[in-house]
Symmetry: C2
Subunit: 144 residues, 2 copies
DNA sequence: CTTCAATTGTTGAATATTCAATATTTTCAA
DNA sequence: TTGAAAATATTGAATATTCAACAATTGAAG
């Protein structure tokens, strides 16, 4: 008996890629109002706790490879959104901080992102959204 | 009363990106056994129905921008995995077909991908997996 | 202590992706 | 039937990402 070949649209990896692409595209569209890529929103958001975060820590948090992050941070430093400070306790490390300008921008970006979440809640539903979030968190957990 | 600032890890957009990155990384790792990027697996899988697919159709299906797809197909044509045929009914279009060599490779890749799905099923569970797939499909639907 | 391995971040070259412009063909309104 | 607009795919230049190598610092074993 021939084994049926699963269509690509049934693979979890594909569904995740597709959903991610779509949601990301929508978010990108909103953030483009401020001329900022999604990754910079993430960086600013992580740094808005006001604490210093090392590059490694940041790279993990914002889902970027180290060299990519370095170069993106270079741009953000030029735009005076963030700044580098050498970690006094471990001089291999660089601590990143958000600037005042960065904080102002971060707030605008957050409200754009919240807009999107609300839009999703409307079209997709409260129940589904929170259930989906729960399942995604647990998938991520189980993958470590 | 101050509005609490949502951590980035609670945004749906972020959870999707994180889950996608992780699952994709795992799949990439397996497919690297055959030296093939995830996108080429998708392309071969879509073409393995034996029918001709136009570039536009393919680009949508495999989640790539048109110019990116064109260049990836160029490589795959060099590797004789696929070939181009001008659509006789609409000569603006190019129909892509999978070659015999492509079919052989596609089978190997599929079993690697199925391995991964099975691995996910084990660590994450049948129930969660199918529920997650259902929710993702419905999210994608509701975004169109 | 000293030395060697591990950690952290950056750089430059190679590669890949994207944007805007182009070429070709088809569609469709006048 | 003609001419303008739309659809399709590709190209080249600009941009971004990745890989491998490097530099600096710390950790840790002997």
């Amino acid at each position: 008996m021939a084994k049926l070949n699963t269509p690509i649209t049934e693979h979890l990896a594909y569904l995740l890629a597709q959903a991610n692409r779509e949601i990301n595209r929508q978010l990108e569209l909103r953030l483009s109002k401020e001329g900022v890529p999604v990754e910079q929103w993430r960086i600013l958001k992580v740094l808005s706790d006001g604490n210093g975060h090392s590059m490694g820590e940041l790279a993990d948090a914002v889902l970027l490879n180290h060299p990519t992050l370095t170069k993106m941070i270079d741009r953000m430093v030029s735009d005076t959104l963030v700044y580098r400070v050498q970690d006094p306790n471990d001089r291999r490390k660089v601590l990143m901080f958000i600037s005042d300008r960065g904080k102002v921008l971060s707030k605008k970006l957050n409200s754009l992102a919240v807009d999107q979440e609300e839009h999703i809640l409307e079209s997709y539903g409260d129940k589904s959204t929170s259930e989906l979030k729960r399942l995604l968190e647990s998938l991520i957990d189980s993958s470590n």
